[in-house]
């Protein structure tokens, strides 16, 4: 273990390559189904993806359109002319013996991402470029054999290559998370991380703070969660600092992340690095785009996270709350719509209710589009009008998620409506004050200890089975002193 003071002497520098599987109906160069989830091995493979002799790629225009949308999300220009190249290596998951990619003239040029951090600040990460390419198949090693599944072969990807602008594990996580938000909001990917819709290769080097030269980097490949990006960066930082402190050298190599042991492990060193023999792919004519085409496609990109962040400043929500909301695009759209149509209070309360529901009983799929917007407005009004306590409102909200019933009928059914009828509460107040058990509290209040009133209000709430409006009860007590 390296002491924190020692770690503080060093700075890490991180660049991230992110592979994003595009949400197209078919593959990048064939008409095979692009959704390989839960499909039998080798069941969504065309002759093209299989690399049969004589097969030629036919570029999927939808993939190009999604790349153009991604460019907008990355604040990047789209190249008017881009081309495909071949990257050669032999491996059983690569049917043609080369991956079709864009080495020399990528479709997405330089851009940037501002990734918010938990403390409310943000990290500015420049994007070097992003290019289109095809995914490879998958190997499963089994009983001395390697089984090849080409379902994923030919799935369209964009690879987003960042500049080395990231300097902490938290920044790395924030960047990865923001890319996820951007790509899902722009509709570029389904964002199913479990199925590898987004995968991160993290290049990490360390050097003494203030050093002019960057250290030797190691690349941790194929991370598929934000947490693993953070943890791998953290681990590498400590590992590399420990090496340097011992006077050893960091080896330039590819490493893998062991999620169980939470460590990175060496996979292959630079000496084994392949010569990919890149060359232009003559089977695919260049992609030539006009400004008008680009503008038309980008006009269909829905609001992105930055828009919501700016808009929601008016709601006074914490940065953590905002980021939690942004994790779900339909939820963000709902909150924004409520804000625009029904005002600040409805939007803010609905946002907080939803987040409360995430942490309590609903782990996933919290958003329910069967609930009409008017329900949220009504529930908010009931709280604002003191008809429901905030605790009761939450209970109504959770029930509403399950049943989609109007909040008033749920509140009535559950008998949660607050009593704001003075005479009804006055009777309970009188009863409580007359109780000898209240004598001590009354004395304290008269002696100026205002806090003592809490006990009395509590007793009133108890007697009213929680339905008394506490503010009204307090007012009535004070009148009687």
């Amino acid at each position: 273990m390296v002491a924190d003071e020692v770690l503080d002497k060093y700075e890490m520098t991180i660049g991230i390559e992110c592979h994003v599987q595009l949400a197209t109906a078919t593959k990048l160069f064939s008409s095979a189904d692009n959704d390989a989830r839960d499909k039998a091995p080798n069941s969504v493979v065309s002759a093209i993806d299989y690399g049969l002799p004589g097969m030629l790629p036919v570029l999927n225009r939808q993939a190009v359109d999604l790349a153009i949308k991604a460019a907008k999300a990355l604040n990047a220009k789209v190249a008017k002319v881009s081309r495909f190249d071949r990257k050669h290596y032999f491996y059983p998951d690569l049917p043609k013996g080369y991956q079709t990619t864009q080495m020399y003239e990528p479709i997405i040029l330089a851009g940037y991402v501002d990734a918010p951090l938990e403390d409310g600040s943000s990290v500015h990460v420049r994007v070097h470029h992003a290019h289109m390419e095809e995914d490879a198949g998958k190997l499963t090693h089994f009983d001395g054999y390697s089984l090849v599944d080409l379902n994923r072969a030919g799935t369209p990807l964009i690879e987003i290559v960042s500049e080395p602008d990231i300097h902490s594990a938290l920044e790395a996580k924030a960047y990865a998370t923001e890319l996820y938000h951007l790509m899902t909001y722009a509709g570029v990917t389904h964002g199913d991380l479990y199925h590898g819709n987004m995968r991160f290769d993290v290049n990490i080097s360390v050097a003494l703070r203030g050093a002019e030269k960057l250290g030797t980097r190691a690349e941790v490949k194929n991370l598929n969660s934000f947490k693993s990006v953070e943890k791998a960066a953290e681990y590498e930082f400590r590992r590399q600092v420990a090496l340097l402190e011992k006077g050893e050298k960091v080896v330039q190599e590819t490493r893998g992340w062991d999620d169980v042991r939470q460590v990175t492990t060496s996979q292959r060193s630079k000496e084994d690095a392949q010569d990919y023999r890149y060359m232009p792919d003559a089977d695919i004519p260049p992609i030539v785009l006009t400004d008008e085409e680009i503008a038309n496609i980008q006009a269909t990109v829905p609001a992105l996270p930055s828009f919501y962040r700016e808009s929601w400043k008016a709601l006074g929500l914490d940065a953590t709350v905002v980021n939690a909301l942004l994790a779900s695009r339909p939820l963000s759209e709902l909150i924004q719509r409520l804000f625009e149509k029904n005002g600040e209070s409805v939007a803010r309360r609905t946002a907080l209710w939803y987040l409360a529901s995430v942490s309590s009983e609903h782990e996933e799929n919290i958003f329910d589009d069967k609930i009409p917007d008017s329900h949220y407005a009504e529930l908010t009004a009931m709280v604002d009008n003191a008809e429901l306590s905030s605790t009761a409102a939450k209970e109504v909200f959770f029930a509403m998620l399950k049943t989609q019933h109007p909040p008033r009928s749920i509140a009535e059914e559950k008998n949660l409506l607050q009593v704001s009828d003075e005479s009804a509460i006055a009777a309970i107040v009188d009863e409580v004050l007359a109780d000898p058990a209240s004598a001590k509290s009354l004395e304290d209040i008269r002696a100026g200890k205002d806090k003592a009133i809490g006990y009395l209000v509590g007793q009133i709430m108890k007697k009213s089975q929680g339905k008394a409006n506490p503010a009204l009860a307090q007012k009535l007590i004070k009148e009687r002193l």
């Binding site: 002759a47 002799p53 004589g54 036919v58 049917p95 090849v148 023999r277 060359m279 003559a282 004519p285």
Partner: protein, 467 residues
């Protein structure tokens, strides 16, 4: 005289049947077996198709423009009824699950594929000696090579087994065997005919064309197989329409560099005679210089092997084709599969190609060759500002002896001197029979035109006639 029109007429009128045509072609293929022009016959499928066509005709239905016409395809076209071997051990038993677009289009018009023609393995070569299944013998002299790589297609047509054959031309592979066997060979504009379903050699210069005995037949076939195909992004919208009468008084440039001392004197004599015939028909023939042409072979043998090394990477023994047995490791599986499945010339080109693409050499070789290619294209553009057509011999010599150049790849590559230029520039080029040497070996004249002038070139050649 169109042989195709003759057959279609006979079959259509009932004086012959598709079955008779197919049976006769298969009979001719069997009696000429010694030439080794064909690697396989799709006898059963061909006869079934013939019967289906005969039925259609009997019922008075439209059986297509080529109803009942037998043909063969070079064995690098995916086709039903026989394996698609590319004349290699690698694909010796490969049965295609689909057919090449060109084959489909011909069959849609009632033509009947009766077999697969020999070639240099994976179309690498200029003599068909690189076939894993033995060389094809020249139709005019069985001690001579057929030329290549579409040697089997050329000999099958020259021997009249079939009236037409499909071939592929990447650097001369239709034109040179056409020249060596005295038939018409059409290498169209790049992108004129879909490459879908044809075993790829070099993606930027591969073209699909035909070999025939008459120019009229070439026009018919090209008209049918040309045109846009959604399965090949490089195909052009159909521009091929047979021209009835050629433009009068065309300006024809005879390229000086193709007529030097490196070119056989008898070949030069035939080309000069061909030039005279063009003049007699009212055209103007002038000598032109194209100095860059002498570098075309060097460019070609950098760019094409690079693409070859890439296109042959898929033959790894994992999914189909030859697979080495008892390999202990993945590397051994790859190494032995490819060692056993490829012939020497395949390996040579893969090695050259891998070398020129490797890090550190890419700029020096591949990129440099591509720059030179741009200059070559510019040189053609400039010449076509002043000339309608360029004329050269197809090859610097008539067919050479079997085995004569087999041990010397550089000598072999130099036979491509006049054909690789149009390939690198994507231009249409035709091999037209232009007489024989004293020894009776055919000589071909090459007509090269600007992109999309394919039909005009054939129309010009038609007025001169094919010898």
């Amino acid at each position: 005289m169109s042989k195709i029109v003759e057959i279609v007429g006979a079959v259509g009128s009932g004086s012959s049947t598709a079955r008779q045509q197919v049976e006769a072609a298969i009979e001719r293929a069997k009696t000429t077996k010694d030439y080794n022009a064909l690697l396989s016959l799709s006898e059963n499928r061909a006869l079934e198709r013939a019967d289906a066509i005969d039925k259609k005709i009997k019922r008075g239905e439209d059986a297509g423009q080529l109803a009942g016409v037998p043909f063969v395809v070079k064995d690098n076209f995916l086709a039903y009824g026989a394996p698609t071997t590319a004349a290699s051990k690698m694909l010796q038993n490969f049965q295609a699950p689909l057919q090449a677009t060109a084959v489909e289009r011909l069959e849609d018009e009632g033509a009947i594929c009766i077999g697969k023609a020999n070639l240099d393995a994976f179309a690498h070569g200029g003599s068909t000696e690189n076939s894993a299944f033995g060389p094809t013998k020249n139709a005019a002299d069985t001690t001579k090579v057929a030329g290549g790589s579409s040697g089997g297609s050329a000999v099958a047509v020259a021997l009249d087994i079939v009236p037409f054959a499909l071939g592929t031309d990447t650097g001369g592979s239709i034109r040179q065997p056409a020249s060596f066997n005295g038939v018409v060979g059409v290498k169209p504009t790049y992108g004129a005919v879909s490459r879908y379903g044809v075993v790829a050699m070099a993606s930027s210069t591969d073209t699909i064309g035909c070999l025939t005995n008459t120019i009229e037949d070439a026009e018919l076939v090209m008209d049918i197989i040309s045109g846009r195909d959604i399965n090949d992004m490089t195909t052009l919208p159909d521009f091929f329409t047979p021209v009835v009468a050629p433009k009068p008084a065309q300006k024809i440039g005879l390229i000086k560099e193709s007529m030097g001392s490196a070119t056989d004197p008898e070949v030069r004599a035939r080309i000069l005679e061909y030039a005279e015939t063009l003049k007699a028909a009212g055209h103007i023939v002038e000598e032109v210089s194209m100095p860059i042409l002498e570098h075309a072979v060097a460019m070609y043998y950098v760019i094409v092997p690079a693409e070859v090394s890439s296109n042959l990477a898929r033959y790894d023994g994992v999914r189909y084709g030859h697979r080495a047995t008892n390999a202990a490791t993945l590397a051994e599986l790859y190494g032995r599969t490819r060692d056993e499945g490829f012939v020497t010339e395949n390996k040579r080109r893969i090695m050259i190609g891998s070398y020129v693409l490797s890090s550190g050499y890419f700029d020096a070789y591949y990129q440099q060759a591509q720059k030179a290619r741009t200059l070559l294209i510019d040189a053609y553009t400039i010449l076509f500002d002043s000339y309608d057509v360029l004329l050269t011999p197809v090859a610097p010599m008539p067919a050479f002896g079997i085995g004569e150049k087999a041990e010397d790849p550089v000598q072999m590559y130099l036979t491509d001197l006049m054909t690789v230029g149009p390939s690198l520039a994507g231009l249409p080029a035709m091999s037209i029979p232009a007489g024989h040497t004293d020894a009776g070996l055919p000589v071909g004249a090459q007509l090269v035109g600007p992109a999309r002038s394919d039909a005009a070139l054939l129309a010009l050649a038609k007025t001169i006639g094919d010898k």
